[in-house]
Point group: C2
């Protein structure tokens, strides 16, 4: 609606201000909400897996501990989700700062869309990596001779499962964030 | 350059055609190239892992075969990369059809950007899943009691490694495709 008026005005030769202000506020409010959700999800995923320690006494073998840093896949997962958490803080602050300066918003939307896509790739791959290894721990892989571990380390596995569910949610939030930036950029192109 | 002329002309009140045509052609030429690369990478990744069969005679155990469908992570990987390959065919055809009808291109860029982000999430997660499990097969995980397999199934592991490298390349291509669509959308917004 606003962009149609803008087009009509420019065709009549009037000097008009580009219709940036009203959609900017709406878009950035949704944007900030999603970025806060991303932060909460990233922190929850990291905390859940880092606190997943479980010690069990196994016959013959003695005391055995399950910790996230025993598996490389989970270390990568924690690093990736920590980066996503840090990224969500920086971009939430950037998004809030733009609320008072709408002129900056188009450039920022471009940067947001670029970085959101990159962080999505990181979080999706980390969720996949940890998920693939967690599945082996849950069900085992008979052909490879890898035994399941979750009947022994049940608390550890529950923490990992919770962490994976939250990081899947973080991936969905990142897809929505990318879509929001892309849609807002598209809505500013004169029809 | 073109958008600056456009802005100057609209300010002077002249009736001008929006500068859609020249950037459209350039952008879609790069777009088509990247989509063809995505197709080649997806097919190469699927073919490499599907043809990775290796049979070995293991003392005591007898004849043993390594196949991609023995591990759930690799099945997910093949499904995801097949979807990416199919997607690249459909979008390459769509991109080619737009070369002759530039009017459709802005809407198509929006759809491309939306779907590219989604397919990136799929391919990145599949690469992570297969990569995490392949790492366990390559190095083993002592804490989990999972033995490495690659010293036995060397040919199988080489195929999987090649497949993972190509699918990582496909993820990079998908990031570039998303960036290209986003950048082109951004460049069409009047400054």
């Amino acid at each position: 609606m606003a962009s149609t008026d803008y087009k009509a005005d420019t065709e009549r030769g009037k000097e008009v201000v580009p219709p940036a202000a009203p959609p900017t506020v709406n878009c950035f409010a949704a944007d900030i909400t999603l970025r806060v959700l991303l932060f909460v999800a990233s922190v929850a995923a990291v905390v859940s897996i880092v606190t997943a320690n479980q010690t069990k006494i196994i016959p013959v073998l003695g005391e055995r501990e399950a910790k996230f840093n025993h598996l490389k896949a989970f270390i990568y997962f924690v690093v990736a989700l920590s980066i996503a958490g840090l990224y969500s803080i920086i971009t939430t602050l950037a998004s809030i700062s733009v609320l008072s300066k709408p002129a900056l918003s188009t450039k920022l939307l471009l940067y947001f869309a670029f970085w959101d896509v990159l962080v999505l790739g990181l979080v999706a791959s980390a969720t996949g990596t940890a998920g693939g290894v967690a599945y082996v721990g849950w069900k085992g892989e008979d052909h490879a001779g890898w035994a399941e571990l979750c009947s022994t380390y049940d608390k550890f596995c529950h923490h990992v499962a919770g962490s994976l569910a939250v990081s899947l949610f973080a991936s969905v939030v990142l897809v929505l964030l990318s879509w929001l930036s892309i849609y807002t950029l598209h809505s500013r192109i004169p029809k």
